[in-house]
């Protein structure tokens, strides 16, 4: 879960990292509250990256410009999200822009520090150097110094960057962040560093011990389409897609594999819908309700290979569910895994066909949705 720039900078400031002194506004009229000098930067506050390239940061030289810019920015969308707030900051003069981040790195089995002596929105093209230390207790300033020395010749800047890298790690572990990125990190005329932007991504799994992650996750859900909101509320994993074949599956890998096979068969999945986190009668009922109610969904593929999920129980649930179901959308079933033999028997008894393979299920699906 990505924090907005303003929330991220507040977190940096709370840990002693200097940021420009800004003003958060929720309506364009509030630009009038800006009492600091011009030129100023007005920045859309959204929970996604790529804002700079999408025109989400505007330099303004006087108040009228600022009001116009604020109106424009509030009307823009960034990765489908309208900014609910703008951040106004003094346009800070600086001599250089650096890139510094600490981020989770699977290869390192923990965290890495990333640094580039030239920051800015194109930084991902100029690959930063990486110090992969893994566990927080294995961070070594001297190892980072050895990596930075060849690429950062300004010793004073280098030492400040190293101290800041240590601080970003402290922040990441304290607030359960998977990424704490400052880009650009400005070098001021006096050699001090100032965080001109902040991208802090929090670990949703830590919501049980970080109340603000829990709150932000709830807010983020409200930005999802209604169908996805209902699925998530029912503890199903759902991502909305624009196809017409409803896919009810179990496990991230099998759900993606099912999507890929639908696509390979010329069909378009309407969703990623993983019921393995709630493989109960209520969970499957919700999945069917959502897909049955969605007009663009023409047919439903149930594709489950259960390990911890006992597919005989799934079969029993499907039997009851199909008996009471109103919708006439075709349903193709293929389940396998723990309790498979009992499952076959239950489905057969209910007059439901359990396809022996995904291939056979897909053939049936292609036939079912073929234009007549």
């Amino acid at each position: 879960m990505m924090m907005t720039e303003y929330a991220g900078k507040s977190l940096l400031l709370a840990h002693g990292v200097p940021v420009p002194s800004g003003l958060l506004i929720h309506k364009s009229i509030q630009v009038q509250r800006w009492r600091q000098s011009y030129p100023a930067a007005i920045k859309a506050q959204v929970a996604s990256g790529g804002r700079g390239k999408a025109g989400g940061v505007v330099r303004v030289n006087r108040q009228e410009e600022a009001e116009d810019a604020a109106q424009r920015l509030f009307a823009l969308e960034f990765a489908g999200e309208r900014p609910s707030a703008l951040l106004i900051e003094p346009w800070v003069e600086h001599t250089r822009e650096l890139y510094l981040a600490v981020t989770i790195d699977g290869d390192a089995g923990g965290y890495s520090t990333l640094y580039a002596p030239e920051g800015g929105i194109e930084v991902e093209d100029n690959a930063p150097i990486k110090y992969a230390f893994g566990a927080p207790q294995d961070f070594r300033a001297h190892a980072l110094r050895a990596l930075l020395s060849p690429i950062e010749r300004d010793a004073a800047v280098r030492e400040r960057v190293i101290a800041l890298a240590r601080r970003l790690l402290f922040i990441a572990t304290s607030v359960d962040a998977t990424t704490v990125e400052i880009n650009p990190l400005a070098v001021l005329a006096d050699g001090k560093l100032l965080a001109l932007d902040a991208k802090i991504v929090r670990d949703e799994a830590a919501a049980f011990r970080q109340a603000d992650i829990a709150a932000e996750t709830t807010r983020a859900r409200k930005r999802e389409p209604r169908m996805v909101q209902r699925a998530l509320a029912g503890n199903l994993m759902m991502v909305g897609l624009d196809g017409d074949i409803g896919l009810i599956s179990g496990g991230a890998g099998m759900t993606m594999a099912g999507m890929d096979m639908l696509a390979a068969a010329g069909l378009k999945p309407a969703c990623f819908l993983d019921c393995s986190s709630n493989p109960t009668p209520a969970g499957y009922q919700l999945a069917f309700d959502l897909l049955d109610a969605e007009a663009r969904v023409k047919a439903i593929l149930v594709s489950i290979f259960g390990g911890g999920t006992h597919v005989d129980r799934v079969a029993k649930t499907l039997k009851e569910l199909m008996e009471n179901r109103k919708s006439r959308k075709p349903v193709v079933i293929r389940i396998n895994g723990t309790g498979r033999q009992r499952a076959d028997a239950i489905l057969q008894e209910a007059g439901l066909h359990n396809h022996p393979t995904l291939e056979s299920a897909l053939d049936a699906m292609v036939a079912a949705v073929q234009p007549r």
Partner: protein
């Protein structure tokens, strides 16, 4: 020789008194694995499914000689429970749960390595050496002994793959679920090394997905002159960018995360890549030669 577990592994089920722990106990015993102990903290210690139950892992290991463990506790309790079984001396530990804070995963990975132990997980069904032992909850009927080493980021996909391979008569030396989270107790590169060193494994099949960089470890391995033949299936071709597909690590953030880029890198390294599940068995056959 075997990978991580075999018939001599003496298994501890931590959290045996819960519903899933009881199911797993029955399932493991039915699979022929040697389950020697259960742990139920703060509960009574009457045997479950005929397995002696202890109040803590230390007592379980000392009294019953457990050497490997699978831990069934919710994510907020996982750090403490896995540290307990590691401290008790278990050298192979599976933590299947999902939703573990990545920081706790980092701590557990470091703790396991410090003790010379191997953690499998989080977010995994565990591992199985067909015909020898199982430390997980994958459906046993999907697996049969043979020469193919299988590594998977996804549980469900590994069952499907195991079932297809087994149905096609392609047996497996060991199937390791490395899990779908970004920080893993055993990552792809390390799992590959284990299968590389295992004399019963003649080829390696890898089931990957979008996001993360584990797939590139396979590409690097495949380019080694001493590499065993490899095959792979990478899912998520149809997944949109910027959306997390169930697994914490399954998200296309940059180009390197995409299925297409990964497949291209693997093909360049001469890995036999299946486009979808349809060609999985063919790819495995090609690798097995």
């Amino acid at each position: 020789m075997s990978v991580l577990i075999d018939g001599a592994s003496r298994i501890l089920i931590y959290g045996i008194a819960g519903n899933f722990g009881r199911f797993s106990a029955r399932d493991l015993v039915a699979s022929g694995s040697v389950v020697v102990a259960g742990v139920a903290t703060g509960r009574d210690t009457t045997p479950i499914e005929g397995i002696p139950v202890f109040p803590d892992a230390h007592t379980a290991c000392r009294s019953a000689g457990a050497t490997a463990a699978i831990v069934y506790v919710p994510a907020p309790a996982a750090l403490d429970a896995v540290l307990e079984v590691l401290d008790a001396g278990c050298k192979v530990v599976v933590y299947p749960g999902d939703g573990l804070p990545v920081q706790d995963a980092i701590a557990l990975r470091a703790a396991a390595r410090q003790r010379g132990a191997t953690l499998i997980g989080p977010n995994t069904p565990g591992l199985i050496s067909p015909g020898k032992a199982k430390l997980g909850f994958m459906p046993s009927h999907c697996y049969t002994p043979g020469p193919l080493g299988l590594i998977s980021r996804s549980g469900s996909l590994s069952y499907e793959a195991g079932w297809r391979l087994t149905s096609a008569g392609l047996g497996q030396s060991c199937c390791i679920g490395i899990g779908g989270d970004p920080v893993k107790g055993l990552n792809a590169a390390e799992a590959i090394e284990l299968l590389h060193a295992d004399h019963e494994t003649t080829a390696i099949m890898y089931l990957g997905e979008i996001g993360g960089s584990d797939e590139y470890a396979l590409a690097r391995y495949a380019m080694r002159t001493d590499a065993k033949p490899t095959a792979a299936l990478i899912v998520g071709a149809a997944a949109p960018a910027g959306k997390k597909m169930g697994h914490a690590a399954a998200l296309v953030g940059s180009a390197l995360d995409s299925q297409a880029t990964k497949v291209a890198a693997l093909r360049a390294a001469r890995v036999h890549v299946a486009d979808t599940l349809r060609s999985l068995v063919d790819a495995a056959r090609a690798a097995l030669g």
